[in-house]
Symmetry: C2
Subunit: 546 residues, 2 copies
Amino acid sequence: MVFDPWSVVTVLFFCHAAIPAFKNRIISRCCCRIALIRRMSGCIAHMTVLKQLIPRSNSVWKPAVRCVSQSAHRKLLPDDYDYDGPHLVTQVPGPRSKMLLESLDSIQNTEAVQFFCDFKKSRGNWLVDADGNRLLDVYSQIASLPLGYNHPAIVSALADESNLSAFANRPALGVLPPVDFPDTLQKLLSRVAPPGLSQVQTMACGTCANENAFKAVFFWYRAKQRGSLIHTEEELESCMRHEAPGSPNLSILGFKGGFHGRTIGCSSSSHAAPLHKVDVPALDWPSAPFPATKYPLDVNTQENRQEEERCLDKVFQLMQEYKNKGRPVAGVVVEPIQSEGGDRHASNNFFRQLRKLAKENGSAFVVDEVQTGAGLTGKMWAHEYWGLEESPDIVTFSKKMVIGGLYFKEEFRPKGPFRIMNTWLGDPAKLVIMEAVLNVIHKDRLLDNMTETGQVILQGLEKLQDKHADILSNARGRGAFCAVDFPDTLTRDRAVATLRNKGVQGAGCGVKSLRVRPALIFQPHHARMFLDIMEETTRELKSLGT
Amino acid sequence: MVFDPWSVVTVLFFCHAAIPAFKNRIISRCCCRIALIRRMSGCIAHMTVLKQLIPRSNSVWKPAVRCVSQSAHRKLLPDDYDYDGPHLVTQVPGPRSKMLLESLDSIQNTEAVQFFCDFKKSRGNWLVDADGNRLLDVYSQIASLPLGYNHPAIVSALADESNLSAFANRPALGVLPPVDFPDTLQKLLSRVAPPGLSQVQTMACGTCANENAFKAVFFWYRAKQRGSLIHTEEELESCMRHEAPGSPNLSILGFKGGFHGRTIGCSSSSHAAPLHKVDVPALDWPSAPFPATKYPLDVNTQENRQEEERCLDKVFQLMQEYKNKGRPVAGVVVEPIQSEGGDRHASNNFFRQLRKLAKENGSAFVVDEVQTGAGLTGKMWAHEYWGLEESPDIVTFSKKMVIGGLYFKEEFRPKGPFRIMNTWLGDPAKLVIMEAVLNVIHKDRLLDNMTETGQVILQGLEKLQDKHADILSNARGRGAFCAVDFPDTLTRDRAVATLRNKGVQGAGCGVKSLRVRPALIFQPHHARMFLDIMEETTRELKSLGT
């Protein structure tokens, strides 16, 4: 049997116009046929008509006009996951968000809350808030949502009964792992491992990933110093008094502007903002300047090279200084792009030199890919752009990877039981979702999508800054991991609020930057919507005399 | 229409005996009716016959004889979640576990792995391993599984479509919480809050809960010292160089034998075992002796009181010492029962005095209930036994609470945005499971169950140690949170291995203790099975001349 989509449209149209009382019933019966027709017809434009006839209880759906009808693009999601634009019915945050904020504020600090989200109604790149506003999301929950909202592949993995047990029984992975754990790790994490790193350890979040990366560095460094894997009695006894040699005076070198988390170890290696650090005791660990490069990097090569050399010299000096004061640099930790610190980029050569410097100093080289990893830059791992002669020693991940963890070289594998350990060590439930995510990244070529979309974003931002040089500067990016600067913090914060009330959910980073961190399903047509609203926002800021 | 269960049994019996070829088909058709009959008849004994007729693909089910038929007890789980005893088909770990271990070992250290678990086949208190061995679980995944394996209430919450969105969209809770978040926190976490603590902050795990509790303590202490909530320019600037006053010289006082996690801050407050600490840099934080009490506590009151006073004096001295050296004790952290450190108990009076001492010194009083909380001791929070005049300032939780976090007084609420923060700040998916758990705890009176079962365990262990005083000593417990000592580490480790191969999954803690940490659905009849196998194990250890 073959359906003629046009005849169904005609029938539905008449039902809609002439017999309202029977409309819903007839439409409901027709729905399954319509679904079939959608797949069969391939005639996307006609489906817009059908869609408008189908009643939706939720007002957010009503003004929807699918994007696909207006510009052709690669189809990554079902039709009803996309729209021609944002839809605003109140200010953001609206009255319902404000009411919920008051309620939440009675039991915890809410000063960082932007608004409340209705995740049941959110789809793809579109975040719906508590008041029914639909925003184009270029922030993806602090860069942590890989496939946007309610991706069909994730929903389908959750509905699969064979995955139920992973959600119902959270194991202590380090002592009693599930039968499918070795296979799952190999199939998922080893498949996307950074080149050269054969070992992997899951963790619950990025902070624990970094804290444990540092521990692996200290274990490795002390074993080198000691010349043995076996601890001495003196070490085992002195560590209980927090004295050397058991509690060694070792350090991790971080960078000014770097960010690796907010626990005491992570915070001691981070220097992105005083409010992350003030009041919290810190370890005496060195921080080197990160190159204050000029953008575009490839235009300002000579000047940037000098600046990068200055920073590398300072790294070298700090290594000597901390060695001399008996607190040698056991490891260097760096982000491929300083993210919280304000989207600060350096050249591939800078990172190659830094890697060499770490090696020459006998320090481990740890790359924190918590925010840059999992494809947003157009490669699975941002450090793959560097062309390193020798791979990093440890790469940490979380956010868009769904689960936290660290990849590492075999020589960084801890010796003895219970050295890198906590109760859960991650969560197999998150591996179920990660499997769906990695399959979609592969099947839908989302790394290519990020490269392609990133070009649209970056070129768009560059054009905007040419037109509005008094407001915008330093457009920069790798893949869709992009940013642009405003003149100061106040203007940037105004821009974020204005964007939000024009239907774009973005966020700041550093002192005066706007960061773009969409989900991996963010496409060129979304980028163009974002750029249009950026331009409107810029004009509005200018008209207000900002 | 009314079913007569006996007639169905008769029909099934004839089918089973006479027409094997049609058996499965008929049984399959009857299954839905049988389910109905089960609910209707209430005639549990007859169902055993039905159950034996239903073919199961998994051999683990075959030798099952429901426990209910043999001893009457309160029914907490469906019939097919319980058995008369363990079922062993290989050594544990068996050949399949060993094969899986080899595979996992190629990508990470596996020295702490005991065996691999088949969570799909595990039910209630019964853990099934990769080789089909069925063990009575008194360890519950390092004390972290609240309702055992595949509890129907959890399975049902997972199957509920209205919960799907919480699993498909993990939000950044601190900036973009879901619409139901305030209500969920109030309905769940506030409902079971420790008395006096109105505020709550979720976290992903116990380690992050403790690290952030310490941060909240430092914020509060510095605001007191400064006499203002506003940071000075000097603080904001000096913290970036890791210098006072921005990076203050403050300390957390922990106890020898205490354990609060393995990140650098947590590790600096923990003193349970050298292998947790060696090679990792530590902060100069004091550790006081924890009372080496004699058991039973209520028999050795005089001697214990002296020991406790000695420890309290030492706490006082350390507070003075650290004040004098410019590193004052901003907070004291203590577990109600030292868990990893070897199940060490102190009297209620000790904790009341400690709380007073903290208050008098101007230090915050933090109670780490990560392992003791959520009902195992017979109360929701173990510190409720103490009869404190003033509640703790902060109580941390994780493990059986499904999600990590901290309860705290309003005065410990951080001021300003982004002070207690990370990307996820917990996980609404875990709150869905927690809701099911808290409902079951309430509906099935599981706190009472822990008190009742705990009495059976403790009295049983006391009897055993009376009979085998050369092997067992120091039986102790609160609710079902129990332990007993062996003469030394070697014998304890042998006991754990022997128990496992007799069908009990337990674990050690401290130097020579065996800890009992069942799920909240562990009942007196399970306790008796455990005690029988403990006795067998003890006899075997003695016969081997241990």
